[in-house]
């Protein structure tokens, strides 16, 4: 029940907000979300999470954990058995060796892991280089940690890869860290091992720390995924961030992890223990099950994403929207420049005229102008309808 608030006398609200928080712009996605949420009959390609419900055996493990009364805190680092499974998993799949005792930290998603990593390493004014278009939280997270966000634009003609020359050009004496996200949200770009080698060499040369968000790494459709942390001389200067949301369709469980050398994990853990204490125990129990028995579910979901990607890519090309073939994640990032519309106007027009929601590329940085992000984490029949509606919309332009 909502109590009426009109009777409360309004006084002038004093401003208590910190400058660096006030400076953070509202998320472009947030504004768009409000409009979409108010409309009926919308097919949304704007969703950055799997459409699959978490596989049953993982949900069942969470239920079982509750039945056994697993309702308390865990170690600040996370359940030891989960850290052991994580160490095994990253060893088998990424050729990374971390000690579960002090080199693995269970976090509340990669979001928390990223925040911890930045806060643990940045002194005020330190620069963090990242590639853009990128996930919406990078620049604000850097600013909240009192760092300076330095964006390097990636371009469609380079398949949205981070080019070594572009990275070099962005380096200054204040550069502290490089933030990577391959496969990339929103472009689906990947970096091959040979390309990572070049990036790694620059990081070693300039003594940069690498924070690598590899949340989409299981969803690689072409080449095998390589983690930059596995390259020679990189382990000691890399914080590897990963989680369960995308590969195991566990977004709402809010569980991820960071792997790094012990001094870095220890520093991150000091922030985590006071800010969060520990990731929720039920989610951690579910995560153990995901790593032990979730592989087939993951592979099956990846196969479905791959087919949907093919379908939507084919549809975009047929309607005359050039689109880079994404190698990972579950997004397509078509160019809508030929329509003569801005990303924002395209997204609003498509939504109002054809009830299809896509996210304007500008939500992921200024370099996203001329593009829209279309998620294919949506049922196939819905994708087909959405593609037909989009073709109608594009045909009218």
């Amino acid at each position: 029940m909502h109590l009426p608030v009109s009777s409360v006398p309004k006084t002038k609200q004093p401003d208590f907000i910190a400058d660096h928080v006030r400076a953070i712009p509202r998320s472009g996605i947030r504004d768009f979300f409000e409009i979409v949420q108010s409309m009926e009959g919308v097919i949304s390609l704007g969703i950055g999470e799997p459409d699959f419900v978490t596989p049953w055996h993982i949900r069942e493990a969470a239920i079982y954990a509750l039945e056994r009364g697993k309702t308390g805190y865990t170690s600040n680092l996370g359940l030891l058995k989960l850290r052991e499974e994580i160490a095994r998993y990253v060893n088998e799949n990424y050729s990374l060796g971390y000690d579960p005792a002090n080199e693995v930290l269970v976090t509340v998603g990669v979001s928390e892991g990223l925040d911890l990593a930045l806060r643990a390493v940045l002194n005020p004014g330190d620069e963090v280089i990242y590639h853009e278009p990128c996930y919406v939280s990078y620049s604000p997270s850097i600013a909240l940690a009192h760092g300076r966000a330095v964006a390097v634009s990636t371009r469609e003609e380079d398949e949205f890869k981070l080019r070594p020359e572009a990275l070099r050009a962005a380096i200054t004496p204040r550069s502290k860290a490089l933030l990577l996200n391959f496969p990339t949200n929103p472009t689906g770009a990947v970096l091959l091992k040979s390309e990572l080698d070049e990036i790694a060499a620059i990081c070693r040369e300039h003594n940069l720390l690498v924070i690598t968000d590899e949340i989409y790494s299981e969803l690689s459709y072409a080449e095998a995924h390589t983690s930059i942390a596995s390259l020679p001389g990189m382990r000691e200067r890399t914080i590897f961030l990963h989680g369960f949301s995308k590969a195991f369709a566990m977004t709402g469980f809010r569980v991820g992890y960071a792997c790094a050398p012990a001094p870095l994990i220890d520093a991150m853990m000091r922030i985590h223990q006071y800010g969060i204490l520990c990731a929720p125990i039920v989610s951690q129990e579910a995560a153990v099950e995901a790593l032990r028995h979730g592989r087939n579910d993951m592979l099956e979901m990846r196969e479905q994403y791959r087919r949907r990607r093919n379908l939507l890519l084919h549809a975009f090309r047929n309607m005359g929207l050039p689109c880079f073939e994404p190698r990972g994640a579950f997004y397509l990032f078509p160019s809508i420049k030929s329509t003569g519309l801005s990303s924002h106007d395209f997204a609003i027009g498509l939504l109002k005229q054809e009830q299809v929601a896509v996210v304007p590329g500008t939500a992921f940085g200024p370099g996203g102008e001329g593009y829209v992000r279309c998620s294919y984490a949506t049922a196939l029949d819905q994708l087909e309808i959405a593609a037909r509606r989009m073709a109608k919309f594009v045909g009218r332009k």
Binding site: F33, V36, G48, E49, V53
Partner: protein
């Protein structure tokens, strides 16, 4: 490619050649050709709808029968299994390991019809030693499809 194509058709047999082609990075003509081949060689046996009898307000009686039989010299279980499988009432028929030999899924309009089939047709076949009939009381999942779909109603319509 056939394996991927079969997986897609098993998910939805009504998928159009155009949609299948786009998903598998090939042409609709190629898809049509492959499907024709798969049908011709009886890799694809049939296309059917999976119907919820309760919602269709259709009364039917379903049962599973464990059948023990005497295998024949030359032919083993096959000849008798074929004889059983051909009855219209039999929906599926499998040879099993364990305490019985054949597992027979049958369906009829009434209890009498199913009971009559078991007592008059199945049990009297030469070679059938015994039958144990289990009636279906309620269906929760059939052919891989849950009766009650699990959907996340609260999924956000736009998220980063």
């Amino acid at each position: 490619m056939d394996e991927a194509l079969l997986n897609l058709l098993e998910e939805n047999a009504l998928s159009t050649p155009e949609s299948l082609a786009a998903q598998l990075n090939t042409t609709p003509a190629e898809i049509k050709k492959r499907i024709k081949q798969l049908e011709k060689y009886r890799v694809i046996l049939a296309y059917k709808a999976i119907v919820d009898d309760e919602r269709a307000k259709r009364s039917s009686v379903k049962a599973v029968i464990e059948v023990r039989v005497t295998p024949e010299r030359e032919g083993g279980f096959d000849r008798l299994a074929h004889r059983i499988a051909q009855y219209r009432e039999v929906h599926s028929c499998f040879l099993m390991s364990g305490g019985f030999d054949l597992l027979v899924f049958i369906e009829g309009k009434t209890l009498q019809e199913v009971a009559g089939f078991v007592s008059e047709k199945l049990s009297t076949l030469p070679g059938v030693i015994s039958t144990a009939t289990h009636f279906n009381l309620k269906t929760y999942k059939q052919q891989g499809v849950l009766r009650e779909a699990v959907v996340n109603e609260e999924r956000l319509k736009v998220s980063p």
